[in-house]
Symmetry: C2
Subunit: 387 residues, 2 copies
């Protein structure tokens, strides 16, 4: 096990109908409530949140319209609004897109310069308004971590920020809120959470991490099982609850504590697909992961892939390379079974775009210091996403 | 999964020689440094801590002599000292006994009445000085939770407190500090951590908890394996590191979040053994657990015990009751192999003392609202601790 610092002060309030208690936790008024589509007005979440805020005397203004793959133009508008209205806290009612937007706004309000400065390392986030969340889509774990990802539509960059002041103060995880999540977004959420686990598991520098390995394997197992159940019965409370908590634990620092250096190479390429083609994040990841794993096996880097195959899919072939290849096939079959794409051609991106995608991805490779990922390597992985 | 609130703001600084950085984290001076035996002066931990405090300009006074099964008389002296010296933070250098003492002192300093009031529900802990820890013995997880257990020597009560202000602000987990822990205390620490996991696992009210079950089974597996390695090679860094992090995760709220109502019946009886006979905490628990598990099987409450046997010991008998009995035998064999006792007669407590022990334990049963544990039930369990 390697050195680590683990720190996660977010309070999680988990359970059926806890949404009705959100007002009990917010201490700073007025609050800016952010959300995405109007669907939260149809499914009743909006009304529950608003009546809880009113019940607890929290003054608030609201701004809807955060889109998936959230963008800077919305952030700029929200920061201006929050400054104008003297906002003291931000409440995100939504999934990762809304929460990431809320974090960015919370930091932007406390900064005089251009909020995008934080994303291009021109400024450091030292202060932020307190952030609260009511989660409506499980995938990114943004509800219990200190990161955010936003796309700058002008520069076509999907970049990230991270700062300890961005941990939400309280996040309400009410599985009932996810009953109306569509099958495709449930699948994408599953892929996203799984790839969060895999990025650390497959790229870590520490050799001996039995606790972390077991936790990853346990969470992946739960994600697979609960997703299968949810696609058959969207209001299966126990499965929605297992899925929700597993997705949160998949990127809250627990499974990566002690694994040493690790990277997010699949996210790096996936982000480019989202920035260029607005591909849903999870859909981009199921495609990239399969290509990336095949590339790892080609590079004789298959021991951990085989370990996953044994732990998750019960594979038992003595040949580790064979086991690793079978594991990739099993993962691919699972992704296909839940309706998440596994080849770039399935989302109609022509093979002639490989150069364009690689040029975009290599910007993130540089920002994230993934020096092994040259344009050439990224192109090789992208080619495997067509085979 | 049941409703839960998860909140754990302790910052963990984990790794080889991180002890030398403790001064970097303490923000409040002067600090009261508490420790137990003089052994930390022999093994170099004392010098590392003191030079780090000096390097970072932290003024401090020290008070050694905390005993295992820590007592109120020490707490009273330390509270008086801290008040007299205007202490602003507490640093515990030690294991659970020292950390629990530090927490109690941290609360006691901020209270005008008798510190024992907190233990008998006569007063609530609302404020405490900031607490820092350098862990030297892995077992109780006090380094990452908000509880403490102290024995009142006058009333022979081993009682507990819990309050969110008692979470340590920063805990340094440096596996090197545990190289000199004796085989018997390594074994007791292993038992303590395992029983923390088992209390929730075996007594929980929620039926469906695959994440939590897997985490418990993973941590127990790591504890068993790392303990075996450590007893052969006490300075095996990787095993000490796995053991240390597993023991911390065993009682930091993670494995119990979502499992519903649960109790600490084994600790309840174990605490009485420690209060009456000064039995090491871990030694009391390995004895009580075996008797308690046999009692559960007698009561036809064996499904989860069988699940553990399958997950940990690879048992595969189709008969669940048989599997559960085999699991208890496997656990007993493991405890014996690491030198932790499994029968009361091994620690020379005569069977004629059962009434006395039960009368003491039933006080905690009432305090902890474990209403099923009447004197009669406790006596039955104690009798099984002789068979």
């Amino acid at each position: 096990m390697d050195h680590f610092i683990f720190y996660n002060p977010t309070k999680i309030v988990f359970g059926k109908n806890e949404t009705e208690n959100i007002g009990n936790y917010i201490e700073e008024s007025p609050c800016l409530m952010l959300y995405g589509k109007e669907s939260i007005k149809k499914n009743g979440i909006y009304d529950k949140v608003v009546s809880s805020l009113q019940k607890h005397g929290i003054r608030f203004i609201e701004k809807g319209g955060v889109k998936s793959n959230p963008v800077m133009s919305f952030v700029y508008d929200a920061v201006a609004l929050a400054k104008r209205e003297g906002i003291k806290s931000i409440l995100a009612v939504g999934g990762g897109s809304v929460i990431d937007t809320a974090k960015t706004v919370a930091a932007g309000v406390m900064y005089d310069g251009d909020t995008w400065d934080f994303f291009i390392n021109k400024a450091r986030i030292e202060k932020a308004l307190p952030i609260y969340t009511v989660l409506t889509l499980s995938a990114t774990a943004s509800e219990m971590n200190s990161g955010a990802v936003i796309t700058n539509e002008k520069t076509l960059q999907k970049f990230n920020i991270n700062a300890s002041v961005l941990f939400p103060k309280v996040s309400v995880l009410d599985p009932v809120n996810t009953y109306t999540v569509s099958n495709s977004y449930t699948a994408y959420g599953c892929v996203d959470a799984m790839v969060h686990l895999f990025e650390g598991y497959f790229t870590q520098s520490a050799a001996n991490t039995p606790i972390q390995d077991s936790f990853v394997e346990a969470l992946v197992t739960v994600l697979i099982k609960s997703t299968k159940n949810i696609l058959i019965k969207p209001d299966d409370y126990e499965s929605r609850a297992d899925f929700m908590w597993a997705a949160t634990l998949a990127l809250n620092g627990l499974t990566t504590a002690g694994i040493g250096a690790y990277g997010f190479p699949n996210h790096m390429i996936g982000h480019s697909l989202s920035a260029l083609y607005d591909t849903p994040h999870g859909a981009s990841l199921s495609i990239v992961l399969i290509g990336w794993l095949k590339y790892q096996i080609q590079q004789d880097n298959y021991r951990k892939i085989a370990q996953l195959g044994r732990a998750i899919f019960g594979l038992s072939d003595k040949d580790l390379k064979k086991t690793a290849m079978d594991a990739v096939n099993s993962l691919e079959a699972f992704f296909s079974s839940i309706g998440s794409p596994v080849r770039l051609k399935q989302i109609n991106i022509p093979e002639s775009d490989i150069d364009r995608i690689a040029s975009n991805a290599v910007m993130l490779a540089q920002k994230w210091q993934l020096h092994a990922y040259t344009t050439d390597v990224i192109k090789k992985i992208l080619r495997l996403c067509y085979e």
